[in-house]
């Protein structure tokens, strides 16, 4: 029979698995349906039972959550390779509810273009905190967490690592240096590769693929990172569930995992390296996870997910211009004050910083279950939608006002430094 | 034979709020060759387009062979029309333009070749068959438009100034051919023309249209000799009109008081007009003209006048002669070598009482 796999993964990866699996299982054909995550979810949802593809294979955990919530996934615990660990760092490899399973690992980090950094005489950043420095102004790219589940995890990692308030301050400072917040996660590594951006906050395999393809780029995992699984799941109402399970099992088997080391794929396996033959110098996920300072709390992440992405969009994605302007003014004021300190100026600058880099939602608020509950409700309810859009509108207005005020204060401060 | 009668019953049409045709009542007999005359903008084209099905009347009935065809779409009417602006298809050759209607009628290739060839010969364009309309002169284009329509032998043929861009010779020849064709096929034909001679020579009957109103319908001689009103008198041929009043009618004379000229004692016509305002109409070529000195015969009424201008028109010369306060036109046959009256010459004009018409409208 034919196993239909719906996936957002690049062709190199899917083709490699397709060939290897077909060779290992004569008589079973693999049909790859390549769609982006949104299209995949829509496609599966709209097909009648019995006509759906068999396997969903993608990075973003949120897509799987959505499919699960529509009862479009079907547990298949028997395919899980028991040799794999239960958790990577603090992150459970498989869905606690047993609907989808980690098949490979990926970590978020910093990618940079060496030529670009050289041309702009910039040092190589190592940690998230490096990115707040003024010299990186206008050189950083990130994709929006509302568009990319993995970016959301990165943001959440920072928030959990630094604490809500401090985390937002750092995040906003980094974002003030951003050149762009892209809507496609792929745009970030792509932009770094071709030199449009100097630095990108990206998922490791995309950066590594660039590096192995000969681009002048490099990648590092900051100490505060999360290693998260890419998932695979069996779709409910699949045409060909039995053979599909075979395919899923294959991807998690030793030969299946070994494929991940291919330079064009460049992903981290879930199996311990003792069972595989990793190339020399290949990053070890367990090590990265161990190094990481964060104890990632999946539940917390899940709870405040809608708040975080919405807040991020209102404060950063849609207000990037204003945030950039404020940050620029702050950097300039800081530089000026450093050369000629001025007490009043310092005060104003501090005020500006606090205005620009403070989250509009307090740490208490996010812990308030009612507040969180509001974001869980369906936006199709007019009243809810009204409340939510009212909230978003308020954030948006406030963010704009704050950034504007911060810019003015910083300029004032800079004026005082003369 | 393909004869069809055409009848318009109380047809009215307006473009927006502008009335263009008003209560047109007209019957054209099967096989008749009917001319439509009228000044520019009087609604002639509109009437033809209405018959062909491109305009819709707001009231009235349009009957062909007694059947109301108001709702029939143009292509089912089998009414051929030659458009005033030719409307040739620029993307087709002359041949294809002409063959168009035959193709629609699924004629055999042979029949088509024969018919198109014949009609192109008829209009004298056989050697232009492979050209496109843009490569033809205006008159040639007009002939293509004509050929295209007559080749399908419609049951009713509408011609909107089909010969206006042709020279006289070709025109005469074409209209003779048209007439022959019409006779041969018994085609009921309605055609619009500005050329009075054309109308008179070819048409069995004709109608004069003015401001959307049918002024008079009749034979050429009928309209020419017995116009119903001033408009027709002036429009069909040239007419001298003396405005004035019939003041008295006796047993054998009639007194007409012409404005600017004074009373005239005239012979009483068979059907004398009513006492009251009227116009006296007569044709310029029916006016005799003599030098002032020469004696006139008694059968005519003689008026003294002064030549104001003289024009040579080929067959005749046309004089404007001032008589009292009015200017009359007089046409005199032209003979080479024989002198013309010069402007300023003193002359006498003789009116033939039998040719005078009294118009009260």
């Amino acid at each position: 029979g034919t196993v239909t796999v719906i996936t957002s993964f690049p062709k190199e990866l899917t083709t490699a698995y397709q060939k290897a699996f077909e060779a290992a299982n004569p008589g079973i054909k693999v049909e790859i349906l390549n769609k982006n995550t949104t299209a995949s979810v829509a496609y599966i949802r709209e097909l009648p039972e019995g006509q759906r593809p068999d396997v969903m294979w993608a990075s973003a955990p949120d897509a799987f959550e959505v499919l699960a919530s529509y009862k479009l996934l079907q547990g298949a615990p028997e395919v899980v390779n028991r040799s794999a660990p239960e958790k990577i760092g603090n992150y459970p490899l498989n869905d606690p509810k047993g609907m989808y399973y980690g098949q490979a690992l990926a970590g978020y980090g910093i990618e940079w273009n060496t030529r670009y950094l050289k041309a702009h005489k910039l040092p190589v950043p190592k940690e998230w905190s490096d990115l707040v420095r003024p010299e990186y102004f206008g050189h950083i790219a990130i994709s929006s967490p509302s568009r990319s589940g993995t970016t959301q995890l990165t943001v959440e990692t920072i928030l959990q690592g630094e604490g809500w308030d401090k985390g937002w301050t750092q995040l906003l400072q980094i974002m003030g240096n951003a050149a762009a917040v892209t809507d496609r996660s792929f745009a970030v590594p792509d932009g770094v590769n071709n030199g449009q951006y100097g630095i990108g906050i990206v998922i490791d395999f995309l950066a590594l693929a660039g590096k192995y393809s000969g681009y002048p780029v490099d990648f590092t995992y900051p100490s505060m990172t999360a290693v998260v699984p890419a998932n695979i799941a069996l779709i409910a109402g699949a045409k060909n569930a039995d053979e599909a399970k075979k395919f899923m099992a294959y991807t998690m088997s030793v030969p299946g995992q070994q494929l991940l080391f291919d330079p064009k794929i460049g992903r981290l396996p879930i199996l311990p390296y003792s069972m595989l033959k990793p190339p020399a110098g290949y990053p070890v996920p367990q090590d990265i996870a161990k190094r990481a300072k964060v104890q990632f709390n999946t539940e917390l992440s899940g709870q405040r997910y809608p708040v975080v992405i919405s807040l991020f969009d209102q404060m950063v994605t849609f207000r990037l211009k204003e945030l950039q302007a404020a940050t620029k003014a702050i950097h300039e004021a800081a530089a000026a004050l450093k050369a000629r300190p001025n007490a009043r100026g310092g005060e104003l600058l501090a005020q500006a910083r606090s205005l620009a880099y403070t989250s509009l939602v307090g740490a208490d608020n996010v812990k308030n279950p009612e507040f969180l509950e509001l974001f869980r409700k369906s936006r199709r309810d007019v009243a809810v939608s009204k409340q939510l859009t009212g909230m978003e509108q308020m954030w948006s207005e406030k963010a704009r006002a704050n950034y504007e005020r911060a810019r003015q204060l910083a300029e004032e401060a800079r004026g005082l430094a003369k | 034979m393909n004869q069809a009668s055409l009848e318009c019953r109380h047809i009215s049409l307006s473009y927006g709020t502008t009335p263009v045709l008003r209560d047109i009542d007209l019957r054209i007999e099967p096989g008749e060759f009917f001319a439509l005359l009228g000044p520019s903008g009087s609604g002639k084209s509109t009437l033809l387009r209405l018959i062909a099905g491109f305009n819709q009347h707001q009231s009235g009935e349009l009957l062909v062979d007694g059947q109301d065809i108001s709702g029939v779409p143009p292509h089912l009417r089998n009414i051929g029309m030659v458009f005033q602006n030719y409307a040739l298809w620029p993307h087709m050759t002359v041949w294809d333009n002409v063959a168009f209607g035959l193709v629609e009628r699924r004629e055999s290739r042979d029949a088509m070749r024969r018919k198109v060839g014949a009609v192109l010969d008829l209009v004298g364009l056989a050697q232009y068959a492979r050209r496109r309309p843009a490569q033809l002169s205006g008159g040639q284009q007009q002939r293509v438009a004509l050929a295209r329509t007559i080749v399908i032998e419609p049951r009713l043929l509408l011609l909107d100034e089909p010969l206006s861009n042709l020279d006289k010779q070709l025109r005469v020849q074409m209209r003779e051919e048209l007439k022959n064709l019409q006779r041969k096929l018994g085609l009921t034909t309605v055609f619009v023309t500005h050329d009075q001679e054309e109308a008179m020579t070819t048409a069995d009957r004709m109608a004069v249209l003015d401001k959307g109103i049918l002024q008079q319908v009749g034979t050429a001689a009928g309209l020419y000799d017995y116009p119903h009103n001033r408009f027709v008198a002036g429009f069909v041929g040239t007419a001298n009109l003396l405005e004035g009043e019939v003041t008295a009618v006796s047993a054998d004379t009639l007194t007409f008081h012409a404005r600017g000229l004074g009373p005239l004692a005239l012979a009483r016509p068979a059907e004398p007009p009513a006492i009251g305002p009227a116009a006296l109409a007569f044709r310029p070529h029916q006016v005799s003209m003599r030098p002032r000195g020469e004696p006139g015969d008694g059968a005519r009424v003689w008026l003294d006048g002064l030549v104001e201008s003289a024009e040579f028109l080929g067959e005749f010369s046309r004089y404007r002669v001032r008589v009292g306060e009015v200017a009359l036109t007089s046409d005199q046959p032209h003979y080479a070598g024989r002198g013309m009256f010069a402007p300023g010459a003193q002359v006498r004009l003789g009116l033939d009482p039998a040719q005078l018409r009294y118009l009260d409208r």
Binding site: P10, E65, Y212, F318, R380 | N78, M81, P90
Partner: protein
């Protein structure tokens, strides 16, 4: 014959309507098509905008929309960008069209074809290529920085979007304007010359107004397209515009935000408004000049200086608008191209990579797009005819309906298809409709219909009605008149419509992504997308892009050749 007359005469009593069944049937068929493949599918998705969670109708979502700062901003950004792009696109297209149509111009055909190429810019590749050339660290800026010490941020923000949109969509104007200008009777120009007009004034007062249907068709398309365009702002990272806002909200995984659909509805409304305004401008005017045998505009010679100027301008414009294509070409041969003016090294490998896949994809693209574009011009011509040549009530609705497709995100349409045709089997087989390529083709046809429609309308507006009446009076039915007279006369415009539909369908992605149900159905646009989704695949993606451009470009060139040749026959044989 009399028998027919009798029947028809009896049936059609009312004197006002020439009610022959043909137009009614056409009207019905088109309406059914639009209902099945546009209104209903979209309705099943977009009704969300009008209902609450429980399904009760509401306008509350619209209220929510207008309260939002982001949306007001987005609206004005979109409007501004659309207006500016229309303006710049006109600046590019009008001179190109005028110069090549009215003057003897070496390579006029080539220029007109090259002028269409920008449309064939596969999404993603085009943006990437443009970044490589004009981006912050693109070739141009690197050179400028090296030599002069400054950079030009043409690719940033709204300016960037305007720049890209202008050079991407000006062919809409070019194509339609060229077709329209070719339809002008030469005598129109001659009489103006005779009265002392010439050069720019002649153009402004006579030629351009007469070509107005074509220009407006093109400009309206550019405006609406840019207003509704999603791809460009998305890849340029500008989210404060309407289409991205709608997209972001509709596609955020797991969030079913009705505001996304509200935005879609608003975009549809606004697009229709724009088209309606364009139609108002034309209303009551007459543009038909082809009547008395019709001579086309004559080509004239340019003076030495004039031609120098003209060639200079054209080369400049072409250099800018073809930059992305140069970029793609370089990319397809590049090993690595990063932060440098030109690639580091070259290779043919990428072509080898894609070659195995390319055949099937080219075939699919041609199959879907030719069918879709064919369907579009047929429907487009029919709608144009119904609107301009019949008095059917509500015929204008067909236009509005069809044009609404411009504003509908491909994703929405595709989801609507899946939803509407769920479980429906292809007649005569057990295959599901949703798993065949038919839906992909239909989605293309529906989404590109507005292009073909605008062109067909423009073309028909220029044909004098008496040409058609003449055919009818010779016994040609409406259908036959269409086929033998109208369509040949409209050929230029129809071709323009066909080409635009074909080209834009060839690069359509959003609906494709959802609707493709097996690998073997993938058209080139999807192939390119897939390759471009991986770093290592950029080269092969670009190579496939080059193939796409070549295939579609050749198609365009030959169709131009075809029309030009049939036109040459109409031109007078000699002009000294």
């Amino acid at each position: 014959m009399p028998a027919t007359t009798l029947q028809t005469g009896a049936r059609a009593r009312s004197p006002r309507t020439l009610a022959s069944p043909g137009p009614l049937i056409a009207f019905g068929l088109i309406l059914a098509f639009l209902l099945c493949f546009l209104v209903l599918p979209v309705g099943t998705v977009i009704y969300t905008a009008f209902v609450t969670e429980t399904g009760a109708p509401t306008l509350g979502h619209f209220g929510n929309f207008f309260g939002q700062l982001v949306f007001r901003e987005s609206f004005f950004n979109s409007l501004w960008v659309a207006l500016a792009s229309t303006f710049f696109a006109s600046v590019i297209a009008v001179p190109l069209a005028y110069l090549t149509v009215r003057f003897e111009f070496r390579g006029a055909l080539l220029i007109q074809t090259l002028g269409v190429l920008p449309l064939i810019m596969p999404p993603f590749v085009g943006a990437v290529a443009l970044q490589l050339i004009f981006g912050r660290s693109g070739s141009v800026n690197l050179l400028l920085d090296d030599w002069l010490g400054f950079t030009v941020p043409v690719m940033d923000g709204l300016v960037g979007v305007t720049f890209v949109e202008s050079i991407h969509y000006f062919p809409f104007i070019l194509l339609n304007l060229v077709a329209a200008m070719r339809n002008i009777d030469g005598a129109m120009e001659e009489s103006a010359l005779n009265l002392g007009a010439r050069g720019l004034r002649l153009f402004r007062r006579v030629i351009f107004p007469l070509a107005m249907p074509g220009y407006l068709a093109g400009a309206a398309l550019v405006f609406v397209k840019v207003f509704d365009d999603l791809g460009t702002p998305l890849v340029m990272g500008v989210s404060n515009m309407l289409a991205p806002q709608a997209y972001l909200r509709i596609t955020s995984v797991g969030v079913d935000d009705p505001l996304g659909y509200v935005i879609s509805v608003i975009m549809i409304g606004f697009s229709i408004l724009a088209l309606w305004l364009a139609a108002r401008v034309m209303k009551g005017r007459d543009y038909a000049t082809l009547q008395k045998g019709g001579n086309a505009l004559q080509k004239r010679r340019l003076g030495r200086w004039e031609s120098l100027l003209a060639y200079g301008w054209i080369l400049l414009v072409l250099a800018v608008v073809l930059a992305p294509h140069a970029g793609i070409l370089l990319m397809s041969f590049a090993k690595v191209w990063s932060f440098s003016v030109l690639p580091d090294a070259y290779t043919l490998e990428h072509y080898a990579t894609v070659f195995s896949d390319a055949g099937g994809m080219i075939g699919n693209t041609l199959l879907y797009c030719l069918l879709a574009a064919g369907l579009d011009v047929v429907i487009g011509t029919a709608i144009a005819y119904l609107i301009l040549r019949t008095r059917l009530p509500a015929r204008q609705w067909l236009d509005w309906l069809a044009s609404a497709a411009l504003a509908i995100p491909g994703l929405v349409l595709a989801i609507g298809y899946l939803r509407l045709f769920k479980g429906v089997q292809l007649p005569g087989s057990d295959r599901l409709v949703v798993q065949t390529w038919v839906l992909i083709m239909l989605a293309y046809a529906v989404r590109r219909l507005p292009y073909a429609l605008r062109s067909c309308m423009a073309a028909l507006q220029q044909v004098h009605v008496s040409l058609e009446e003449a055919a009818q009076s010779l016994g040609a039915s409406r259908l036959s008149t269409m086929r033998r007279v109208m369509v040949p006369l409209m050929a230029g415009g129809i071709l323009a419509g066909f080409v635009t539909s074909f080209i834009t369908a060839a690069v359509e992605l959003s609906a494709t992504l959802v609707l493709v149900s097996t690998e073997s159905q993938a058209p080139m646009s999807l192939g390119i997308y897939l390759y471009m989704q991986s770093i290592a695949g950029r080269g092969p993606g670009a190579a496939l892009g080059v193939l796409a451009v070549a295939v579609v470009g050749l198609g365009t060139y030959f169709s131009h050749r075809f029309v030009e040749r049939s036109r040459a026959a109409v031109q007078p044989s000699s002009r000294a």
